[in-house]
Symmetry: C2
Subunit: 298 residues, 2 copies
Amino acid sequence: MLTIFGSIALDTIRTPASILYEVLGGAATFSSISASFFSETGIIAVVGRDFPDSYHNTLKKYINTNGLIKKKGKTFRYDGEYDITLSKRKTLKTELNVLRDFNPKIPDEYKKSEFIYLANNDPDQNIQVLRNFDNIKLSMCDTIEYWISTKKLSVIKMMKNSNIVAINDEEARLLTKEYNLVKCAKKIIEFGTDYVIIKKGEHGAILFHEDIIYPLAAFPIENIKDPTGAGDCLGGGMMGYLSNTKNINMKTIKKGLLCGSILGSFVVEDYGISKLLSLQKNQIIDRVKKYENMTQEL
Amino acid sequence: MLTIFGSIALDTIRTPASILYEVLGGAATFSSISASFFSETGIIAVVGRDFPDSYHNTLKKYINTNGLIKKKGKTFRYDGEYDITLSKRKTLKTELNVLRDFNPKIPDEYKKSEFIYLANNDPDQNIQVLRNFDNIKLSMCDTIEYWISTKKLSVIKMMKNSNIVAINDEEARLLTKEYNLVKCAKKIIEFGTDYVIIKKGEHGAILFHEDIIYPLAAFPIENIKDPTGAGDCLGGGMMGYLSNTKNINMKTIKKGLLCGSILGSFVVEDYGISKLLSLQKNQIIDRVKKYENMTQEL
C-alpha cells in the first residue's frame, strides 16, 4: 500500500481560455488519483466543513480516504493565473485555512504501508509523519518555494530522511543556489537522499542516482489546457507504479518515472483533474508503450 | 560530400566568467568542423581581408575551404553577452560587413555534393545556392530571428525547398505564431519540408516527420562554459553523420540527430570552438554510446 500525505485544495485556475472556480485540486489529490491506477493508495489530508461531498465521493472512488479529516474551518484555497504560454503561473491568492495547524493522524490500517509519498506539506510535518511508519521500503518527498524560503533546514532534513527527492528545476535552483541542474542534483544527493528527480515541466525530467543520470524527455502534447498538477501526477504515478513492483532497482525506478511522467502528460490535456477522471489504465499502458517506441532509436 | 553554406564570424563572447574577443565563430565554422568528424565537408563562405591566417589554417585542418572567399572589407562580427545562467544571450552588436552583398560562388568540386546544409544565411541566397546542386539526396536549412522578421516569405520558400528544417524553439514560435512546439512543427511541415527539428538548447530537441515524433533529451553537462554554436554543431554533426550513411531513413535520421546533439554537448564545455579542436572521433562515439546506455530504460 502507498500512503500519500499532502494538500487537498479548492483551486481557482485562470487560463487564457477558461477560468475554473474552486475545483478539486491539491498535491494529494493529483498524486493519489494518479497512484491509484497502479496501487492501493491512502491519503492523509485535511479539508474544511465547506468541502463538497461530491469531491469527497470523487476521491473515494479512487483511493482510501480514511486518513482524510474534515475540520472546522475552510478548505485550503489556491488561486493562480497562467499566461498565454501556459508555462508561467502567477499566484493570486493562497489561503492555508485548515492546513495551518493541521495535526495529522495516521489510521492504523495505513501504518503497514511500505511506500510513502510526502507531497509538498510543511517539511517538519513530513518528518513527523514519516516516523509513524516502521516498514518503509521507499519514501519520496517533494517541496515548494514557500518551504525552501521559510524552513530551508527542515527541507534539507526531510530530504535526508527520504529515499527519493522530486523537485522542480526552479525550486532545486533556489534550494541549492546553483543554476546547472546536474550541480543542483549533486548537492541534493549530498543532503543524504538516494535519488533525485528534477522536474522540468514540458521538458521532462532528469533522474540522478550515484553516478547514473537518466534524462527523460516529456511525451509531447499538442493541446495543453491546464498544466496544474502535472508534477504531482508524476510523483504519484511513479510511487504508485513502484508500490506495485516487487523489486526496487534502477530498472523499475526508471520505468516508474516514465509511468509518472505519462500520467503528467495526460492531466495537462484537460482542466484540473478532469482528464484523470475519464482515464483508463489501458490508456496509460498504451501511452507508455507509445513513448517507448517513439524514443527507441534503432 | 557535404557542402555547408553559412557565416564565418569573428565572435566576441561575454560570459560572467570570461570575455573572448574576436574568436573564430559563425554557423559555418561550428557546423562544418562538427560535420568533419563524420564526412568530407566543404564550406561556401566569405571573410574579409582582416581574417587571420591562423583561423584560415584551423579551418583547413578540418574541412575543404576552396569555397571560402576572401573579400575586400571586414569579416562579419558578432558581439553577445550571456547572463549568469548562460541560457540567455543579449546581442550587443552585429556587423554584417562582407556578408552584406556576398555573391556566393560554388566550386565545381562541390557540385557533386549529395548533402547540403544551409546554415542561417539570407534565405534568398540559400535558395539560389541550392539551385547549383543537381544530385541532392538530403538538404537541411536553419534560420534566425532576423530573417523571419524581415523575409518571412523567403524563409518559408527556403523551407519548402529543404528536406529538413532545423530551428530553435523561439524562432519556430516567431515563425508560426504558435506557442506549442507540436503545433509549430506541424505548421512548418505544412510549408512543404519532410522533417522538422525543434532545437531546445539544454532541453534537447524534438524531431517531427509525418506522424512520428522523436523527443530527444539533451546529454546532461555539468560544466557549461559557453553555449555559443551548440545548435550549429547539432545541425552540422547530424548532416555529417548522414552524409556518411548509405540509407536515409527514420533510423539513421534519429541516430544522426543524436550524433549532432552529442557534438553540441561537447562544444558548450569550452569557449567558442576550443572543445571541437581538441575533440577526437572516439570521444564522440563513446559519448553517443554512453547516452544510449543512460537513456535505455530496461
